[in-house]
């Protein structure tokens, strides 16, 4: 397993170390065989026990959206249920704020679940005998929050997910998408420190699903809630995940950001997986290209160029001649320097330290071009004319969209 993506500098919310889960009556026996190097299928044959998860270690950083992704049978549902101990683990540690969840006694476990975990379920798991409002209040009610207060909080979170006016409806009166919004509101109202989402959007139809993903991202950017999101869908994982944990047969295959997974697949399994993403059509730079919001002309003075940058809140600007042929890139600090020197044109201050590609450049080649200090990649035609730019996020978006079609 690859340990390198674990970043020591970021605060860790949940630390999972050496987690294993055996389904069966004598887990120790299965674990022993595993330690002797026996494979999952052989252990099943020999002991009749299934090794659901084997030696799983990863961190969930404070405020990130971590996606755990795998096909059915990969153990992802088991893993998320081990986190809040809906399923007992067989070995290993899960540390949240200094508490080791598998070792907690019943009372401490209840407290831990109330404080740390909200959960959204694949099939919504709304209580049919409760109204939308009462469903949203459930977690607060369990914790003994006073009636008026929990009404207010739940009402607020219903508003956040766009369900104002539906408080008195019952779940069976709502569409699937709306039901899952209730599920989300119930989780948000609870204000636990971690949000667990178990295939939360998998039961929704594709359009609604895309909307929900966008809304989740918006909520996430506002609240910065630590979220563990389970999915079997790579496009969804690429679209919403800050980082992705790829699971196969109960083991971690790769941990990394969407870019890392796409550009540096750990093995053939991951590679086959990603092939599915852009196989649908050959993606090129053109498909992810965006028109430029603003360019500078070679005749512009440094003050004009700088003002244009600040008008569009960008810190660099592409400079072209009268025929839109690309001359170079002007950075904001280069422009300021030009002003100090009293220069009246910007030509001398341009840099060529950026990437340019033709419109038919395959999209996956573009990943490698994004360095730490990444300018948008310029897309130019044969006559050096500037057609548009590609920014980092657009590449991922495009790949994800292609996978859906």
């Amino acid at each position: 397993m690859d340990e390198s993506p674990m970043d020591d500098s970021r605060p860790v919310k949940i630390k999972v170390r050496g987690l294993s889960k055996v389904f069966g009556k004598h887990p120790q026996k299965a674990l022993e065989l595993r330690n002797q190097g026996m494979k999952r299928s052989d252990i099943l044959e020999k002991t009749g026990q299934t090794l659901g998860l084997s030696n799983i270690s990863f961190d969930v950083y404070e405020g990130e959206l971590l996606v755990i992704m795998g096909l059915s049978g990969s153990g992802k549902s088991t893993l998320i249920r081990c986190l809040n101990r809906l399923i007992e683990t067989s070995e290993g540690e899960i540390i949240i704020d200094g508490e080791n969840i598998p070792k907690l006694n019943d009372r401490a476990l209840l407290e831990c679940r109330r404080r740390h975990f909200s959960m959204v379920f694949q099939n919504f798991a709304l209580f049919p005998h409760r109204t939308v409002q009462q469903n949203a209040e459930f977690g607060l009610e369990i914790r003994g929050v006073e009636k008026n207060e929990r009404y207010k909080i739940a009402h607020n979170s219903l508003k956040q997910v766009g369900l104002e006016g539906w408080e008195d409806a019952y779940p069976n009166q709502l569409s699937g998408g709306m039901q899952q919004r209730v599920g989300l509101a119930r989780a948000l109202a609870n204000d636990a420190t971690v949000l667990l989402m178990d295939e939360a959007f998998s039961a929704l139809d594709p359009l609604i699903r895309k909307d929900m993903q966008q809304e989740l991202l918006q909520l996430q950017s506002k609240m910065q809630k630590t979220t563990v999101f389970i999915t079997h869908d790579l496009d969804e994982a690429l679209n919403i995940g800050d980082r992705i944990v790829l699971l196969k047969d109960g083991e971690i295959v790769q941990i990394g950001t969407p870019e890392e997974i796409l550009t540096q697949p750990a093995d053939d399994y991951v590679r086959r997986f990603i092939e599915g993403v852009d196989r649908a059509r050959i993606l090129t730079a053109e498909s992810a290209m965006r028109p430029l919001r603003s360019t500078a002309r070679d005749s512009d003075g440094p003050r004009t160029a700088l003002r244009r940058m600040s008008d569009h809140s960008i810190d660099s600007i592409y400079v072209t001649d009268r025929d839109r042929r690309l001359l170079g890139l002007l950075e904001a600090d280069a422009a300021s320097r030009a002003i100090e020197e009293g220069a009246d044109t910007i030509i001398a201050h341009l840099t060529q330290d950026f990437r340019k590609v033709p419109p038919d450049e395959p999209l996956h080649n573009l990943f490698a071009m994004f360095s730490d200090k990444s300018f948008p990649i310029a897309v130019i035609d044969e006559e050096q004319r500037l057609l548009g730019v590609v920014v980092k996020g657009a590449v991922l978006d495009e790949l994800a969209r292609a996978g859906e079609q």
């Binding site: 679940r113 109330r114 909200s118 798991a125 209580f127 005998h129 459930f138 009610e141 369990i142 609870n190």
Partner: protein, 276 residues
């Protein structure tokens, strides 16, 4: 070779004898308590004039189930009144209501524990099979040494005979609550009690009500049979008709039982539907 006959009956009898003599204080206490309960309920129902009770029941039918049942209730109860079977009908109703109350009070907690504990489930289910398949008359025999001839014995036998469906349906209702809802309750940190009262019981209520409906029906059939050990009511009218060979009287009382049964059944069913 002669295999000696197992004296199963003797064992049971000596066991019952032992119970009767050892626990006579208890049985007498239960007997007195039950008798008082029956008398109070019976007297208050009797105290109301026929037309008042008829109006009350009809109103209840109308509110809970609608106009059709209300019309049926007026017609049915008026017929019973006209046939001169009002008082026996009230006596039967009293026994049914009382027996059902006792049965439900015992059955629901037992049903809940059986649903939550697999071990208890395995113990209780065969006991329920026994209780349900043992011919109903057999319960009447030990009832007499325990509680003497009369209504209390009838209640005892009726409770035993009518309790199983309430237990079974309660257990079934709770076990039928979808796993993901239990998971949701657990995930938000619900205690066992919170899970039971906020999720499991409310969701199993329709099934529990179906069980109570069955219990009422069984109780009604049993209190009629219990006339053989001296219970009052419509059953004793039937019993008398048998002894005097008067089929007309027998059918009149029988029709009154049917009317009462239909009223109780429709009422409890409508209660179940309005709850959903």
């Amino acid at each position: 070779m002669d295999i000696p006959r197992i004296p199963l009956g003797n064992w049971i009898e000596s066991g019952l004898d032992w119970l009767t003599s050892e626990y006579s204080l208890v049985t007498r206490g239960i007997s007195r308590f039950t008798q008082t309960g029956i008398d109070v309920l019976n007297d208050s129902l009797m105290w109301l004039p026929e037309w008042a009770l008829l109006a009350l029941i009809t109103l209840l039918c109308w509110k809970l189930a609608g106009a059709r049942l209300a019309i049926g209730s007026v017609a049915g109860l008026a017929l019973i009144w006209n046939l001169g079977l009002w008082d026996p009908m009230i006596e039967t109703l009293t026994l049914v209501v009382f027996a059902t109350l006792v049965a439900v009070v015992i059955a629901i907690p037992v049903g809940i524990t059986a649903a939550l504990s697999n071990r208890l489930y395995r113990v209780i289910m065969p006991v329920l099979d026994f209780m349900q398949t043992m011919p109903a008359f057999v319960y009447l025999i030990p009832a007499i040494p325990f509680f003497g001839i009369g209504s209390v014995s009838a209640i005892f036998a009726t409770v035993i005979f009518s309790m199983p469906p309430a237990i079974r349906f309660t257990t079934l209702g709770i076990r039928q609550v979808p796993v993901e809802l239990i998971e949701a309750a657990d995930a938000y940190g619900a205690t066992r009690g919170q899970k039971l009262f906020k999720v499991q019981l409310p969701l199993s209520l329709p099934t529990v009500m179906a069980g109570i409906n069955q219990t009422i029906m069984l109780a009604l059939s049993m209190v009629v049979i219990a006339a053989m050990i001296g219970a009052d009511g419509l059953g004793s009218e039937v019993w008398r008709a048998i002894q005097r060979l008067r089929p007309g009287d027998g059918f009149e009382a029988g029709i009154a039982v049917v009317i009462l049964a239909m009223l109780l059944d429709r009422l409890t069913q409508s209660l179940r539907k309005t709850r959903q």
